[in-house]
């Protein structure tokens, strides 16, 4: 039987919570004995996804929540970042390198490109009730904890 585990946290879509989200996922993934490079890849991808929620999901001053879920199965890490914001009008456009809907804010428009580069797979679903980004990565190592 494959080792499996999951965790889920939610927090307000505020930039101060980005560091928390990164550390939270990194700490949880440590049980799979990831390399430093793998952990940094995951932290960077999580940071990009959460930044999107902070910057784009809730355009009014009332900030909604972000749900961060991390599932481990064998040596596969699956992370979903979900908001209940305004959604992405054109997902394909949003995923293009250097595309940003806020060019005046000095945005690089590379968030999704970084997620795609640092993770094995990135899937985005969005409607007018929110957005979910699901990212997966297979680690080279395996868990050293007993199934139970």
């Amino acid at each position: 039987m494959k080792y499996s585990n999951f965790m889920e946290v939610s927090f307000k879509a505020m930039s101060v919570n980005e560091g928390f989200a990164r550390v939270c996922v990194a700490s949880f993934c440590v049980q799979l004995n990831p390399s430093v490079d793998e952990i940094t890849d995951i932290k960077t991808a999580v940071s990009e996804a959460v930044t999107n929620c902070v910057v784009h999901a809730y355009p009014t001053s009332v900030k909604g929540d972000v749900v961060l879920r991390c599932e481990l199965e064998g040596n596969n890490v699956s992370i979903t970042v979900t908001d209940r914001g305004v959604g992405i009008k054109d997902i394909n456009k949003a995923r293009e390198p250097f595309y940003t809907s806020k060019p005046s804010s000095e945005r690089s428009g590379m968030g999704f490109t970084v997620m795609e580069s640092f993770m094995d797979d990135v899937q985005v679903t969005s409607n007018s009730f929110g957005t979910t980004v699901k990212m997966t990565k297979k680690l080279a190592s395996v868990a050293d904890v007993e199934v139970g």
């Binding site: 930039s15 000095e106 690089s108 640092f118």
Partner: protein, 102 residues
């Protein structure tokens, strides 16, 4: 984020320490603009040896500073990026406008 600076031989050296993400981007922009606004140097070196984390928000911050300094004809160079920062810089082509120095 902590930012230290010194001018040596007409070069402004800026050391970024800590994490550069959306939360620290605004402070970093304001602080760098203040430092870059002085006219006591003819080139800038941004030292990232103590930057423990950076995502693509950092690219936006750096490119924004590049655009401002280009108007003054002051080049910016990058020094000591982490392996991950390097990955993001190469992915975005940042080194084409802000070359890496060793």
């Amino acid at each position: 984020m902590q930012i230290k600076s010194r001018v040596d031989n007409q070069i402004l050296y800026v050391l970024l320490s800590g994490e550069l993400d959306e939360h620290t981007a605004s402070y970093t922009r304001i602080t760098l603009d203040e430092l870059f606004g002085k006219n006591t140097f003819d080139r800038i070196v941004v030292d990232l040896s103590e930057l423990s984390f950076m995502d693509s928000t950092g690219i936006g911050v750096l490119v924004g500073r590049y655009k401002k300094m280009k108007e003054k004809d002051v080049p910016i160079f990058i020094a000591n990026p982490s392996t991950h920062a390097e990955k993001i810089f190469r992915m975005t082509g940042l080194y084409e406008i802000m070359p890496k120095i060793v």
